[in-house]
Symmetry: C2
Subunit: 722 residues, 2 copies
């Protein structure tokens, strides 16, 4: 596909041809002509339809070739079979973009898939970029570009800085209308359909390049390129244009039957949300939720940290806010003695002077106490964001409150959100004034906090940007091979050792004598373990014998183990017995790695033993990891409490664990063409300073696939703490 | 307090006196007079103010005593100090209810608390019931009773069957207005303030008795009476009047430092939400969420089970719905072969014939396919509820779709919810038609599912009602004693044994000789455990020695153990050594019980060892438990997977576990005046048919408190499966 074409031509075409134009303003080929006129599009519009001389008051042409000059953009609304030839022709004429409404392509089955391949070839040959097929169109709200079919293409919107993309046409319509209804100002919208060429990521990237776009919303069913997602996310952080993504399809993670715990635990959705958190993408799960997050970014500044002050006129609103803060990693520190004293002096006696700060309705209706209080609190330096619940005040009190809030926001630079149910003209004007000051207004206190949570998610990731800057590096293998070979424990550990990961010194033996000899070298007591690539859960069938204190015990254990395969009612490949040292134990964890077909290599950490799967206590990060990522993923799990020293136990060697996670990350990148899945389970993390022991490990490999070209890859620079 | 007064007098007073009436229509004492007139209240209104002869066109009286006859209800809006005397006077005159706006009572500190006690005595003496003090009032929407101050008391509302209560006055205002904005029809609203007398539970109970109330919403910061909550919840289930409760104050569960795991794990909020689930109370966490749930109950019938069919015009809406189903325990089974074949014949070729069923926009715009499809699917018997996403259709298609949906709902009796963004007059009419048919309309597909989830929560609990019917029984001790004594392991197990709970036969010894003798009786190998009420985590300090195979080992272990107290840098009461049999092991779980100060006795179950606390894998149910409750609470945890037989292991003895949970429940009720907290941790659940072993146990007791009277208590009847 061509990649040099600027999307500016898609967003602001100066001339548009509509192939399959209809004189029926309700028809798919008639709606764009009607909407372009209604919204006063000021470029050229060329209907193409050989059966009409004129459509909607415009001269109609029999074909693209008959046009006086090549248009910037072609809309295609004809039967699927005709589309590839039209695209080929358009490309030859020098058209830059086509939007293909026609359905009947890959979404319908094998025949349609073949037709879509033909379409893709036509686009490539013609050097033209395609949106769709099977899409509902696009809009540039400010410039009257309304190239779609369906209700929202004919409506009026508040113009703003949010550009949108949706992988569902019809549902995208609901999102566009819903966001508008929630007060989000819109700029561009594209329904991407089958994404034969232009993808959601292409569009997000183009939106980031668009000066008028200040934030991006996306409805996503699936993404194809994890490396690109990372690059775009970092670009969004750099440009301070938040990505607010609704990723759907999150319940069905079960179908995959992967060889490793890691891959089983990744599920599809879990990995997406880990990646979103890692790169500061704000994930949402409904239209109002998307609106709440987008609106918050009207704030002129991002928060420096996560400390939220809540100010309300009633205890209830404050409690409702407090309940929501933990969900978004927001802190609600106390006021501090100085501020407490100052506020106590200003506020009514029955005000609750704490955080949440219930100033009472009297403070707002009776004079300047409210304004003075938020000014003092805002300037105290104790908070990074402020959520204010105004309940249903109106009249003079509303005007006074709004002025005070806007002044405070301006003078302190703190992001502020307000919940308010405007009930009179003064209140409605007040809402507009707040919006003008970059203060988002929500219908409920909880949603105020949702907005601040979005700001913090983005700001927190931006603080880590210095550790995430991009350098040139080979591409990650995408696509996740399907023919994996699972190695036995001895082979798996050899792979780890080769990658610089320390594993206990063990010896693979095939006789009792050799076992005894190996035990002598390793030192008693020892452990004997059956080695077989068909027995991932070897301890369940008696294949692991621990605490063998002398030669006789080793010999007896060896004989027991070799007898196991015959006992089992399935075929087991016996590959020997591993003689290993007894490990001193420690906090039991699992460390893993895998390559997701969509998102690329990812590192996993979690509670060890059966608890990773039984309790789902795991965290993922896309590789390569920074040191900060490794610490963050450990902190995300509940086993972190055990590592920190549960019930008075000494703290475990988290440093060694971080080191191991970083080495796994490096191995996944460096050996991306061979190593597909890694499970180290259990790993025993000893007490601080004593390291961690990899007790067992399983590696799955594939035959080397070719590198898919050289791309810009994101690799961590040496960690610099801010 | 009197309990015989019917709340009908509060909701529909025929005569009202306003003490502290003001001629200023903005004053707290002026607003009710204004609103009563504006909303055409047709009873008598008597302003009481000695300084005016007339207020708002009404004759003003100098005192209550000066009135021609005693009013049904008095509103009090004067300084706090004057209130007790006014209440006393009102009571003497025969007034039935007072609503006290005045603040300056328990919410302000010790002086106010004393004043509130005085107020309570006055009410009791006068036989008058009080709403408040420190409340904002009440409304009966249909009858023009507007006795409050603040914006919402002056607005117009859609009249409906939802009655509301709020423990926050100002935030309650936001809830009232928010619900109205979301299309919830309202009936009564009461702001309960300090609840000196009339409580949230009193009001909910009264709403349940009120014929016109069809559902109840409550904003709750705390409740005082768990037994009453249960009774009311069961009454609500019986009357098919759902309770939709927003319980706030859920983040700060940390302050409690209880002796037991169970109490630590209960937190405050966790126990509330367990109780809500147990008794079919629908918990919500924002105003729109409350509206979504209340609206759904317009459905004429409740679902028979949890199988949801999703019908949409686009794939996206279906995915958004599917993502939400798991959160509310909803199932989305496939269509089945017969229905699949039938639908395939009717629907366009590019429709996605599965669940979610994407009929495509063509099926709705092009004719009767949509109607035919939902009729077939509805009648198939494969589904209990239907969620339909209509996106933004309008015009003729909207009218046709609405007719088909209403017909299907009527003919099948299935609850149906619809998401729709109405964009024209036909659509707006369609929304009204759906509402008339008892079909709730939501702005987004996800919220459709939220509504169905609420229906199922309520319907599921109703199915269990037969197991929950009330019989007469002694009250549970409320209030949770604060002076607990923690018993040592031997004493704790004696308490359990006395309650009919089987514990391993063990012997407490105080010499090595006795230990050896006991071991001989019990049979080798044995376990020795230090006994001390100061050492709850005895294995951490070497106080548990396992696998002792002979007398010498027992003797040595005994000597080691007795030396422990001297080694520790704190005072430890050494009370002997327990000689116990080696247990064969099994799935490690924790079973516990506690008495919550608000909710009463509760049983806990969770993952054993340190995992209960580290992973928070626990479930609670209020006692007494039914067999179904016990099974449900096990199923709620992740350790259920281990019990079912993880990775091919044989299933564990869940029956024995259920039996144990029921015995703990009985013990908590029967010994409610002595046993306060119980931890059995770990309990080893052996394989099916072999029972469960309580390895360790800690019981905390209090000196016997008096029974607080005899009440109607809910006790399970012998389980009858439906």
């Amino acid at each position: 596909m061509t990649t040099s074409t600027s999307f500016e031509t898609l967003f602001r075409p100066r001339s548009i041809a509509i192939v399959g134009a209809s004189s029926n303003p309700l028809a798919i080929g008639g709606q764009p002509i009607r909407y372009l006129r209604e919204k006063s599009f000021d470029g050229d519009v060329f209907p193409i339809n050989p059966r009409h001389a004129e459509i909607g008051g415009l001269k109609s042409y029999p074909s693209l070739a008959a046009l006086p000059s090549a248009p910037d953009l072609v809309v295609v609304a004809v039967a699927a079979a005709m589309v590839p030839d039209i695209i080929l022709e358009a490309g030859r004429l020098g058209v830059r973009f086509a939007i293909v409404f026609s359905s009947g392509f890959a979404e319908t089955g094998p025949e349609g898939e073949a037709l879509q391949v033909k379409l893709e070839s036509a686009a490539e040959e013609g050097g033209i970029r395609i949106v769709g097929p099977n899409c509902q169109g696009m809009m540039n709200i400010a410039d009257g570009v309304r190239l779609g079919f369906g209700v929202p293409y004919g409506l009026d919107y508040e113009v703003g800085g949010t550009s949108l993309t949706s992988q569902s046409g019809a549902f995208g319509n609901s999102i566009v209308m819903g966001l508008n209804g929630e007060g989000v100002g819109l700029r561009h919208y594209v329904s991407t359909g089958n994404e034969a060429d232009v993808s959601t990521l292409d569009l997000i990237d183009a939106y980031l390049d668009d000066d008028g776009t200040t934030s991006v919303g996306a409805y996503v069913e699936g993404l194809r390129d994890g490396v690109r997602l990372r690059q775009i996310a970092l670009k969004a952080l750099r440009l301070r244009k938040p990505l607010v993504v609704w990723k759907v399809g999150n319940t069905d993670s079960g179908a995959r039957a992967a060889a490793s715990h890691t891959a089983n635990l990744a599920g599809h959705a879990g990995l997406y949300f880990s990646a979103f958190r890692q790169f500061g993408i704000i994930d949402v799960d409904d239209i109002a939720d998307m609106a709440d997050c987008l609106k918050a970014f009207a704030a002129p500044e991002l928060p420096a940290s996560n400390r939220v002050l809540m100010v309300t006129l009633s205890g209830g609103a404050g409690i409702a806010m407090t309940d929501r803060t933990a969900r978004y990693d927001l802190a609600t520190p106390p006021l501090g003695d100085g501020l407490f004293g100052d506020l106590r002096k200003i506020l009514p006696a029955f005000a609750s002077v704490s955080n949440p700060l219930d100033v009472t309705a009297e403070a707002i209706s009776g004079g300047e106490a409210f304004g003075e209080a938020i000014r003092l609190a805002g300037q105290s330096g104790a908070f990074d964001m402020v959520a204010i619940g105004l309940a249903a005040i109106g009249g003079v009190a509303a005007t006074r409150a709004v002025t005070a809030i806007a002044d405070m926001a301006r003078s302190t630079g703190l992001p502020v959100t307000v919940s308010w149910t405007p009930i009179d003209e003064a209140a409605r004007k007040g809402v507009d004034l707040l919006r003008d000051a970059g203060i988002a207004v929500y219908p409920t206190p909880a949603r105020c906090i949702r907005g601040l949570g979005a700001l913090w998610r983005f700001a927190e990731a931006r603080k880590r940007l210095v550790q995430m800057s991009a350098v040139s590096s080979p591409a990650l293998t995408q696509g996740g091979s399907t023919d994996l070979t699972t190695l036995n424990e001895a082979e798996s550990k050899a792979i780890l050792r080769a990658a610089g990961i320390e594993v206990p010194s063990e010896k693979l033996v095939r006789s009792a004598d050799d076992a005894v000899a190996a035990a002598g070298t390793i030192g008693y007591p020892v452990v004997l373990k059956i080695v077989s690539r068909n027995l991932p859960h070897k301890s369940d069938i008696g294949g692991v014998r621990i605490g063998l204190g002398d030669a006789a015990a080793v010999r007896a254990a060896y004989e027991d183990i070799v007898a196991i395969p015959a006992r089992l009612d399935r075929s087991v490949e016996f590959e020997g017995v591993l003689v290993a040292p007894m490990l001193p134990g420690g906090v039991e964890v699992i460390v893993g790695g895998m390559c997701d077909p969509a998102l690329g290599p990812a590192v996993m950490f979690g509670a060890g033993g059966i608890h990773a799967e039984a309790f789902g206590d795991v965290a993922f990060r896309l590789a390569p990891l920074t040191r900060g990522d490794a610490l963050a993923m450990i902190a995300e799990t509940k086993v972190a409490d055990l590592l920190a020293g549960f019930r008075g136990a000494p703290p475990a060697d988290v440093e060694a664990l971080v080191d191991l996670l970083l080495k796994v990350s490096t191995m996944l990148i460096d050996q991306r063409n061979s190593v597909c899945e890694v499970d180290m389970n259990p790993v025993f993390v000893r007490v601080q300073g004593e390291g961690a022991d990899i007790a067992d490990a399983v590696v799955s490999v594939t035959s080397a696939g070719p590198d898919k070209g050289e791309l810009q890859l994101l690799r961590p620079e040496p960690a610099r703490e801010e």
